[in-house]
């Protein structure tokens, strides 16, 4: 686990941005089998390629929200949820990058994605690394915005 404040232009080696839509499928399954298969291929590939997972700061809130919601709804054990969030956190580098309201707005406005999606996509662009995602809007905008999607 690490928080990282990157200097302008600083790049992390062999990194990959993993969207919350993928990471949550390491913990939960909702019946979308092809998405589940993709998420687990990503997990396997990360190990095989010794990739460093990076996420924007918003992931901290997003992951906690989803786990807390499902834990309440499905009465999941508290310790189990704490362990699983810890594992995800240990696996990631949470980047406090140079994202600002204005550049997030500009990216989301021009690329037709939400500012939340933009946080992931801009991190991948800034690091020149691929993004693993199941988010349809992030996938759709990848060609225009010129970031690469991870194919495990």
């Amino acid at each position: 686990m690490a928080f990282s404040t990157l200097k302008q232009g600083e790049r992390l080696d062999n990194s990959i941005v993993v969207d919350n839509s993928v990471m949550m499928r390491w913990l939960f399954q909702d019946g979308s089998d092809s998405d589940q298969v993709y998420a687990h291929k990503v997990l396997n590939a990360i190990g095989a390629q010794a990739r460093q997972i990076i996420v924007p700061y918003i992931w901290v809130y997003e992951s906690a929200f989803v786990v807390e919601y499902y834990s309440r709804r499905h009465k999941l054990a508290h310790d189990q949820c704490m362990d699983q969030l810890t594992w995800l956190f240990d696996l990631c580098t949470v980047v406090r990058g140079d994202q600002t309201p204005t550049n997030l707005y500009e990216f989301s406005h021009t690329q037709g994605v939400s500012a939340y999606d933009a946080a992931y996509a801009m991190l991948a662009l800034g690091q020149s690394c691929p993004i693993a995602t199941l988010d349809k809007m992030i996938i759709k905008a990848s060609g225009r915005a010129k970031y690469s999607l991870f194919e495990p």
Binding site: F65, Y70, L88
Partner: protein
């Protein structure tokens, strides 16, 4: 791995890089006897990452009845 003083003198940089990359230590031999060792420093974060990774690989995801994509969107609508 086993290396000699001659190899250390000629290829120290590549030997150190190999140790750091693979984690395998290098035992230095002089006149056929082991005299020193080069080993990678243990990275606590790397160990934690490895444990976390292995745990996630073994994890059987919990079945949930609401789509994950909906859940993420719901969080965002609520103003995360």
């Amino acid at each position: 791995m086993k290396v000699t003083m001659v190899e250390i003198n000629k290829e120290a940089s590549s030997i150190v890089n190999r140790v750091a990359k693979t984690g395998e230590s290098a035992i230095i031999y002089k006149h056929g006897k082991p005299i020193a060792e080069i080993r990678a420093l243990t990275d606590k974060n790397a160990t934690e990452r490895d444990v976390a990774y292995q745990n996630l690989l073994r994890l059987q995801p919990a079945k949930v009845d609401e789509p994950i994509s909906e859940m993420i969107a719901k969080g965002r609508r609520r103003g995360i």
